[in-house]
Symmetry: C2
Subunit: 103 residues, 2 copies
């Protein structure tokens, strides 16, 4: 992949053991995936891998590929994204975002 | 993307201001991308975005998509990967890995 903008978000839940809360976040992300500037996306959870360098405390991974920085900026203010934050923000306790462009 | 395994690695450099070291790591990752189980990959650096939740202290992002967990496990012991670690490990001070599968 080149000429692209990767936006990778990791969510920690307020109630890490709540299957219902995790499912609510997944459903919210599925709706969020309708934003038209999104090229590809993936809704994930930690794999079974386990080494010292691996961070596996998060509940949900939200990976999005955009064509460029402008499309990512547009996504941030898209009504669908604002609605997602409003609907789901009570679910998470921590979010870490990694935005990367071609090196 | 579904039925996939995302392996996302973030590297912090021992010499964060060394353009040469950063370039050496990029060259090492380009060679590493020859591992045959890799479906897609991206070599990145922090975007210009800057919010509280965004981690932008790393130097290089290495994103790899595998078909499944077995292919990622195979990559870990692939001679090309072992050679990469041997050649480049002096360059980094910290590594964080996020491995995720379909939620």
């Amino acid at each position: 992949m080149q000429n692209t903008f990767l936006h990778h978000v990791f969510f920690w839940l307020n109630n890490p053991n709540s299957i219902a809360d995790k499912q609510s976040l997944i459903e919210g992300l599925k709706k969020l995936s309708a934003v038209t500037t999104i090229k590809t996306f993936h809704i994930g959870q930690p794999a079974d891998t386990n080494r010292d360098v691996i961070e596996r405390g998060y509940a949900i991974s939200w990976f999005v590929q955009f064509a460029n920085a402008a499309d990512q900026a547009s996504y941030q203010t898209d009504p669908i994204h604002l609605k997602f934050v409003e609907t789901c923000k009570h679910l998470w306790s921590k979010v870490i975002v990694y935005d990367s462009v071609d090196a």
